[in-house]
Structure formats: C-alpha cells, structure tokens
C-alpha cells in the first residue's frame, strides 16, 4: 500500500510538473467521455419526454385520413355514414370526424382583417365528441353539442392558444367573425398534444360548415378513433370499413407508433454519436501514447537517475503507467461531468426531465481509464527498457 501511494505520488508529481501538456493529453478522454455521456443522456432525457407524451396521449388512439379516391380534383373525404360504421366496430369507444375548412378569414374583432388574412386561423368542422375522443378537457365553457348541430346555431369553440391570443376571459360573452359572420364563443379547448395546430384553431359544427360555407356534405376528411383494446387490429380493419370495397379509401395509423418510430430514429442518432465519442476516445488514447512516448525521450535523464537510485525496470514502467492511469481517471471524471452538464443544459432548454444513469457515468469513466492504460503500455515499456548508462552520459 505504501509502495502504491509512493507510485501515485511520483506519477502525480510528474504530471503536475507539466500542466499544459497534461491538460492537452487529458482533452482526448474528456471530449470522448463527454460526447458519449451527452449523447446517451440527451437521448434518454428526450425519450423520457416522448414516453411522458405517449403516456399522456395514450397508445389507443387511431387517426384515419381520407385518401384520394376516384373523384379527381376533389378533396378526399370519408362519407358521414362511414363514421357510424366505424363507431359500431367492436373495441371502439369513441369516434369523431373533423374537416379543416379553407378560405375562411377569422378575426376576433372588426378592423383586424388585414392582419388575420396574412396569418390565417384554421377553422375545423368537428363532430361533437372531440374532447372525449382525444381525451382533452375544456379549459372553460363547453364543446359543441347536439343543439348546436341540429339548430345550426353560429357557435364556436376555440383552442387554448387562440384564447390567449385573443385575450379571452373564461365565461366572457364574446363573438368572433368568420368571413364576416358573427359566431359566439362557447368554450375553450385545452392543449391537444397530438395535434398542436388545434391549439390555435376555431371549431364549428358540420351544420354551420354546410350552411355557411357551402360544404356539399357534412363529410369529414379525418377521423379520430379511440380503441382501448386490439388497437392495431382495429386500425387495420378501419380502411375496409370506411370504403366497403368502394373507391373512397382511408389510411389508419396509430400516432404513438410514429412517436415510437421517432425514438428509434433518435436511437440511430444516439448510436452515431456514441461511435463518434468512441472514436474521440480512441484518438485521445493515441494522443496519450504519442505524447507519453515523446515524454519518455525527454525524461530519459530522469529515468536514468531513478534507475541509478535503485528503481527497477518494473517500477519505472508502473510509474509511467500510473501517469497514464491518472490522465484516464481525471479525463474520465471530468468528461463525465462535462457530459452531464451538457445533458442538464439541453434538458433545461428543451423542458425535458434530465435522465442520467450514474452507473453509466462510472462505466464510461472506466472506459476512459482503460483506454488511457492501454495507451500507456507502449511508452511505459519503452521507459523501462532504457539503459541508465546511455541516458546519464558519464565521464
């Protein structure tokens, strides 16, 4: 133990005597470990964020988009009757159709037309069960109901961001102008994670869309379907149920699968960054071997003196190996800290919850130590082989 302490002391004194050189050779392990730790940490934090999002959305929501059928030149739609066919499928608990309307200028008050013509607000004709299907609550008021649909009343629900933009107060009697027609705002829908565009949209009934905007039929172009069980099977069944062999087709997908796919893409990026970090570690190792080999030549006189003082070849080799070891340990620890700092910074900036494994940090720091020790093998054996008589120049 005493010998170990003496060796560590000699190694540290050798390194601190040449601080800049030591700092430079430590850069390799620092950058390598920092890159790997940051890549893994950011990916894990981002995946954690995605998982939270998936949890919130649920994994049982199916989105059905109308695909182009035989009617060229027309926007693809799903006939209204198909909505009730889908709703009758086993495992389906809620279905809502929507259709985005075009060429409608929405303004919160008269005189703002020019601005809102330049920055149009999406207007969506929606079924009545959208909050239930998307599992999104109302911030205030209510959603569109049967009476609105049956009477054709000019009422609208607005997204939460639009309500903030308009300065809408909960319960406030307020009207907005859709192409000059006054619509009463009856409620504000909370943020929709799956469809962020809905946060700044206006929702009206299909009846209003047909009566005020000359929509031919109250046919949606998109369906949101909630199927808590056998979600994938239901999603696979829906196109057939919608088209019934006819020309009007539909594509069904589960958005959470897309998020999963997104996390897979992140995994590939993560692997690439890990490889680059590993490369930085290897290059760092080559740097350590290179600089330490030069150092052995520069310090040949010191090696000769130590040999003359009774230090044997093994001790000289271990002294240089310990110098490499100390570089690896400090480089690894600093690299892990820098990497953790980067993960923290990115998580703060993007609003992720920081996910970092302490075991991972330790493991990568140990990899750095391993690389440094392997890199130190050649210079240390070279130092041990030096003949003291050749380095001391007697006489």
């Amino acid at each position: 133990m005493r010998r170990f302490r003496e060796l560590v002391g000699v190694a540290i004194s050798g390194l601190t005597a040449r601080k800049i050189r030591t700092a430079l050779i430590m850069l390799g392990p620092i950058l390598g470990v920092a890159a790997i730790v940051a890549a893994i940490g950011i990916n894990e934090s981002s995946k954690g964020h995605l998982k939270a999002k998936l949890q919130e959305l649920g994994t049982d929501l199916i989105v059905v988009n109308a695909s182009t059928g035989m009617g060229f030149g027309q926007d693809p739609v799903i006939e209204a009757a198909a909505v009730s066919r889908v709703s009758r499928l086993p495992d389906v608990t809620a279905v809502t159709g929507t259709r985005q309307l075009s060429d409608i200028v929405t303004v919160p008050f008269e005189g703002a037309e020019d601005y809102y013509r330049a920055f149009p607000v999406p207007v969506i004709a929606s079924g009545l069960s959208l909050p239930k299907t998307l599992e999104v609550p109302m911030v205030s008021g209510r959603f569109l109901n049967d009476y609105d649909r049956d009477s054709g009343a000019r009422v609208a629900v607005i997204g939460r961001d639009l309500a903030d933009e308009y300065g809408y107060l909960a319960g406030e009697p307020r009207t907005i102008l859709l192409n000059g027609l006054e619509y009463g705002v009856v409620g504000v829908l909370d943020w929709v994670l799956l469809e962020p565009s809905m946060d700044s949209a206006v929702f009206v009934t299909f009846t209003s869309a047909v009566e005020d905007w000359e929509l031919d039929e109250p046919d949606p172009s998109r369906l949101y379907v909630r199927a808590p069980t056998h979600t994938s099977l239901v999603a696979a069944e829906i196109p057939t149920v919608v088209s019934l062999g006819g020309p009007d087709g539909a594509n069904a997908s589960v958005p959470t699968d897309l998020l999963d796919a997104q996390s897979q893409v992140d995994e590939s990026l993560n692997n690439l960054t890990k490889m680059m970090g590993g490369l930085a570690l290897v290059v760092g190792g080559v740097g350590i071997a290179n600089v330490m080999s030069i150092s052995v030549i520069q310090r040949s006189s010191e090696i000769g003196i130590r040999r003359a003082l009774g230090h044997n070849r093994g001790t000289i080799a271990v002294q240089f190996l310990f110098e490499a070891l100390v570089v690896g340990v400090f480089g690894g620890v600093l690299g892990a800290l820098v990497g953790a700092g980067v993960v923290w910074g990115v998580a703060e900036q993007r609003g992720y919850t920081m996910v970092l494994s302490v075991a991972g940090l330790v493991a990568w720091a140990l990899v750095s130590v391993g690389v440094a020790v392997v890199a130190g093998l050649y210079p240390s054996s070279k130092a041990a082989r030096l003949e003291p008589l050749e380095t001391l120049r007697l006489g």
Binding site: G310, H311, L392, G395
Partner: protein, 246 residues
C-alpha cells in the same frame, strides 16, 4: 540466492565493491575492448580516485562499479554477491542500497525540490513518508542545505545543486559513493567546498570513489588508480592511515 547486505559487525576492513577479471567489449561487427581483464577491490572506509586520459576506460569502469552496466566477462561483487547473476529487480535493489552516485552534471530531477530530489533515493524502501522526509532532511543538513530544502534545482547555484546530489547519494547510507567528475562543472570555490564535503563524509563504513581528470581532485584521495587503454596501469597509496590496495 544469497542476499547481499552490509556487514553487521565490523571486524576489520570489508570489501564493498570488487571487480574480478572484468572485461567490457562494445560493438558487434567492430569490437572495442573498453575494459580488459580488470580486477579491483574497494574497501570500506577508503577514499580512492580513478584517473586516466579520455578513452582509458574510466567511465566504463564507473558504469560497471555502479552496476549500471554488466561486464562481457568477469564478475562484479557488491558486498560479496556477484551481481552479474542477479535479475534486474535484485540488482537494482542492491544498487540502491550499496551505491550512491554523484554526477558531473548533477542530474537532479528539475520539477522536484531539493528535498524531493533527495527523497527520490529513499522511495520504495518501505519507509513512511515521515521517515523518508526525516532522512532526506538529515542528508541535506550534512551538506549545509537544510534551509533551501524547498528550492528547485533552477533556483540553486551549481555548487548547491552538486551538494543536493551529494545529499541524495548519502541519504541511503550506501557502502560506497561513486562520483563522476564531481567538480567538473564547478568554479574553484565551489569545487573546494565539494571536496571538503567529500573529506567530511569519510567514515570507516563508507568508501568514496571519484573518477576525474583533475589531478588536485585525484590527489585528495588516499589511493589513486591510473588507467590507460582499458587497463589499470598503477595503483598508488597516497597516504597510509588506512585502506588496502590491490
């Protein structure tokens, strides 16, 4: 294997270092016989000098006496043990215990303080940090440099650096101090100081051996060995108070 060690009880003069029929040949195609069948005993307590012109084999002999090199033929005995038969670890241990070196160019480790340089000779000997430091400070006191223990070589004069080197050489209490041109890089005043220190270091247990061109340094010894062409050509006793020649 017989462990070499200094004699526990002095019953008379002991041979510390001995060369027995030693030759050293360099080269593979062109052979240079730097040392040719040399025998020499160095006794505890004696002060000897080795002189000779360049190429006479002085440095080769110093390397062999210091166990920094091995002979092509013959044996080197340290406290009676033939080191040519030992492995590197054992040979190094013996060198560290039996022999202290003083070099012309001082050869201090530049990033260490005077104390650190002296302590280097005491590493890996099973001493505690406190013991090591105490012995190193005692050695610095012997050469009058205890007040400058925390100075680095660059902050010391040439004479002071050589005194640190001497402190390093004696810190392990070796059986012999081998000095290679110890005054070669010093002015006359510092050279006189160093020679005085060598004179003061003489003790019945420790031999001092200097290799030099300088006749005044050589004549300060009690025994002078002259070399030429790799052979000892004379072995003179300059004073007769103690010591035995071959």
């Amino acid at each position: 294997m017989t462990e070499a060690s200094p004699p526990g009880e002095m019953t008379g003069p002991q041979v510390v270092l001995a060369l027995e029929g030693v030759s050293r040949v360099y080269g593979t195609e062109v052979l240079v016989r730097a040392l040719d069948d040399v025998s020499l005993d160095i006794w505890a307590g004696e002060y000897l000098s080795i002189v000779g012109p360049s190429g006479s084999g002085k440095s080769t002999m110093l390397g062999l006496l210091g166990v920094l090199d091995l002979p092509t033929e013959g044996a080197i005995r340290v406290w009676g043990t033939d080191v040519t038969c030992l492995a590197d670890g054992e040979r190094s241990r013996l060198r560290g215990e039996a022999i202290g070196f003083v070099f012309q160019q001082f050869h201090l480790i530049p990033h260490l303080t005077a104390l650190g340089n002296v302590e280097t000779a005491l590493l890996y000997k099973g001493l505690s940090a406190r013991e090591r430091r105490g012995r190193a400070m005692a050695a610095l006191e012997q050469v009058g440099l205890e007040a400058r223990f925390d100075h680095r070589p660059v902050q010391l004069s040439g004479g002071e650096q050589q005194r640190v080197a001497i402190a390093r050489a004696i810190s392990t209490d070796p059986g012999v101090v081998l000095a290679d041109e110890p005054t070669g890089a010093l002015d006359s005043r510092n050279a006189d100081n160093v020679m005085q220190i060598f004179e003061d270091l003489r003790s019945p247990e420790r031999a001092i051996c200097t290799v030099t061109h300088d006749l005044s340094v050589a004549n300060a010894a009690q025994r002078k060995i002259s070399m030429l062409d790799g052979r000892i050509v004379s072995d003179e006793m300059l004073s007769h108070d103690q010591g035995v020649g071959t």
